[in-house]
Symmetry: C2
Subunit: 304 residues, 2 copies
């Protein structure tokens, strides 16, 4: 969703930028917090390296009334295919570190740009970009937290945090699998574009957790049920979601079993994960991704 | 691949047609066997109901020198979105039955067209269209067979056959998952378009069979390994194939454990499945899908 920036009565002290594969979101920050927000569809995936500066200026131009405005960005903008590569830091480590920011040269002297690096884990091999800033923000909001963060999304992350450091993490392609299966596979004929059926979701999570090895068989059953019994498309959608979240929970069990879990993400998706985790006896709390990203970038700004 | 028909020195006795979602393949049959083959890309998925007759005539026209030529077809042409719906027969039952063919009205009096119905199973819900004819053909070629057929493909089928009847079956979306993940997901950046690494495949099958519940975690690892260790794209391709076939085998274990297994399908794909099954102590035999389809349609023709 595009949301243009408008001139502000005061120049922002700095600008926080969340720049992912498909989105660019900016927040004008004053001394006491956010002044305004803006966004565009100029994600990393649609830009060549020499197009990032123009895309950023096209969005935040109206805010640039100070001689120089610092910009701090996180996300896929720092990948090898992004504006400039911000090399991964290896876990165990703190989620972010001001001295590891990558300074990007700009043609326009009204901005200075820093990009936060992602995290890497060598065994099992894994990477994150953007989530590390959300985790830093969550820890800034709850400094005593010791436990597990779950960040549901296209590539869901489970992250074990202890003493302020990321100890280990694991990525699951749950959101991408859901999108591909529900819109690109034969299941698309049987699955509603939206809607949610609690009971179908709960049963599917339970089925997947108790017999995860049957996942490959259960997917086509959704198609067959709609052909043979006119199963409701909303039920099929909820069941697909439950099956995929269920096998994620089955594989992520070493992360969540007996641990305090905090979800960070979009509200509806976090609601589904919380529902599934409550059925396993957990009492997860939830933070929004936007709040955590802003708190994480603010922590970096404070340390610059 | 399009392969046009050419006029034949003798009129065919009948024409066998394998009509799937993406292909149309016809075989001109003489009294002693195949006379010629032809094919086009006019699959069911690209045709409206009133376009099927023209697509068929465009392909087989040069063969139609007799006053009337019977055509027998199987596959998705008989689905609800096809030329005419050939309603599923419910298992347990023989794979095909001449008296269950759906006769289609044609405008052109040079052909009569019959479509073979698929099979349905009510619990767990499952369907097949086209494979039932391959199974009938495999049984025509090996009348004493009693055991399990595995038909690898976009939607792989495991089929328990006893005393000439299909007792039960189960469909797996393995081929479609492989296509989506290797060409549409984030893994596409890390996966070769072709090539096969035996050792990577074997290890992945074994990993998936021994810990199938970890599948959701193992997929993203392929991406992370290529980012962090420059893992070879052919290794990643083979490992993805092995993981998906491995979880299929994990879920299909009740079918193959201790059973004689015959694979029916494309040669390379059957080789991969045979390799994975041999590692589990089985000695599967293999039949080609084209041979089985033709034998199955011939059995129907003989019973008309």
């Amino acid at each position: 969703m595009s949301q243009p920036a408008h001139p502000l009565p005061q120049a922002p002290a700095w600008i926080a930028v969340d720049w992912g594969t498909t989105h660019l979101r900016a927040t004008a920050m004053g001394g006491a917090g956010p002044l305004a927000q803006a966004g565009s569809a100029d994600g990393m995936g649609s830009l060549k390296p020499d197009q990032f500066e123009a895309a950023l200026l096209a969005l935040i131009g109206p805010w640039l009334t100070a001689p120089v405005t610092p910009v701090i960005a996180c996300g896929m903008v720092g990948s090898r295919q992004g504006w400039a590569e911000a090399k991964y830091r290896a876990v165990p480590c703190t989620p972010v570190a001001a001295d590891a920011l990558t300074r990007v040269a700009t043609k326009d002297s009204r901005i200075t740009v820093h990009i936060a690096p992602g995290l890497r884990q060598d065994s099992p091999a894994d990477v994150m970009r953007g989530e590390e800033t959300q985790i830093a923000g969550a820890l800034a909001l709850h400094p005593e937290f010791d436990g597990v963060f779950c960040l549901p999304g296209t590539h869901s992350k489970w992250v074990h945090v202890s003493a302020g450091e990321v100890v280990s993490f694991q990525t699951f392609m749950t959101g991408e699998l859901f999108a591909l299966l529900s819109t690109q596979s034969v299941l698309r004929h049987s699955i509603a574009a939206e809607g949610f059926d609690d009971a179908a979701f709960d049963t599917a999570v339970s089925d997947a957790l108790s017999r995860p090895e049957r996942i490959a068989a259960r997917l086509f059953t959704l198609r067959a049920q709609s052909l043979l019994t006119d199963a409701a498309p909303i039920v099929a959608r909820s069941r697909l979601s439950g099956l995929l979240i269920g096998i994620e929970l089955a594989a992520a069990k070493p992360y969540w079993l007996g641990q305090p879990v905090t979800l960070i993400g979009a509200e509806t998706l976090c609601d589904h994960y919380a529902r599934a985790l409550r059925a396993q006896g957990l009492a997860p709390s939830t933070l929004t991704a936007a709040d955590c990203t802003l708190a994480g970038l603010s922590k970096l700004k404070g340390a610059l």
